[in-house]
Symmetry: C3
Subunit: 151 residues, 3 copies
């Protein structure tokens, strides 16, 4: 069963793969490793913006992180690599945070949980989650990824 | 001589490998490359929290970075990979910083120096050190790593 | 034609490769992959410091990002790897930002555009650009890189 079919069974439709905001590419394949550019959170086509700890609550942040992860899948699908995913290797989750916010792991779980829902054990990954001062376009979360492909 | 024996000779005991704060795994092996999740600084079982430039001095930050590096070793040991380390390839050091703090390299040396003490030349690595707005649980430092394994 | 000759034809002279600010190495080769440490922006030998959104405008930030990218090339040249570049795989661009600044992609283009000018299609890369609270020595931008080498 294709990943898109599985997503559909889960009631999840992938977003339109966003074009890079600037002069780079959405992903780069190096042998069987894919480096995916930092993806921003679009829900119903609208960017989730603001900072955790001041503008957004943790639950909304988690939704944003999940939206970033969906965009990672959308980029893989657009590159016709989604059904070749062997393993989600690493996620870096950057959370726009007020200086006092310390629940970056809960926010980042929005992305991590989705990967496990979609890929099962193959979706389990190493992760870094940090709170940053500001993100492109005022986004609440940005997630990049390293993914391993089947041969 | 095993790395744990060498650490013991250096008077260093590895901490208990911390469980992930959330839904991800401590490390992911991809061929001979290991991606290790961002590790937080525990000294005597207590998290070193606060920000450099306001709450903590550089020396305390350096101790925190060293504690993160020890946790990286503890994760490798728990996965039975510590004696297979061929090279520390890359460390990313995230330092919780007030906007004026600019000694992230000195702080990060706490992690870098430990790797060289433990592994000698094989502990020398590429590195990025940046100052971030906030870290999980209010931690002062977070370090993730890429490590190469012997065949 | 060597990359240095091409740079020269473009009127670009590489800076002196900066020594690491601390106890790590400028780059680490792992098989055909090179991990390059975070590089700071030196223009005419002087660090570009300050934060985007308060101290510097976007154009100056873009120049700083370009200077970081030139330093990445200088490190590759010093390691005698510049003419073996097969592909720029990933850039991580850390932009020292006030909490309101959201044009990190425009700033980061200073680095991305240079890579494409120098290497053409082989210079196109995946990228993450984030706004951080503070950078080493007060730098405005820091860029690290993953580069693939020809066999």
């Amino acid at each position: 069963m294709s990943v898109v079919t599985r997503l559909s069974d889960m009631g999840i439709e992938l977003p339109q793969a966003a074009a890079p905001v600037a002069s780079y590419v959405p992903l780069m394949v190096l042998g069987r490793t894919v480096h995916i550019s930092g993806q921003l959170p679009f829900v119903d086509g609208k960017l989730v913006s603001g900072k955790l700890g001041s503008d957004l609550g943790t639950e909304r942040g988690k939704e944003a992180a999940r939206a970033c992860a969906l965009m990672i899948l959308a980029q893989l699908e657009q590159a016709e690599l989604l059904d070749r995913v062997e393993r989600i290797v690493k996620l870096n989750v950057f959370v726009a945070s007020s200086p006092e916010f310390s629940d970056q792991p809960k926010v980042a779980n929005g992305a991590s949980d989705l990967m496990v829902e979609v890929f099962g054990d193959a979706g389990k990954h190493a992760r870094a989650a940090v709170g940053v001062a500001a993100l492109p376009l005022g986004a609440a979360v940005e997630v990049d990824a390293i993914v391993a492909l089947k041969a």
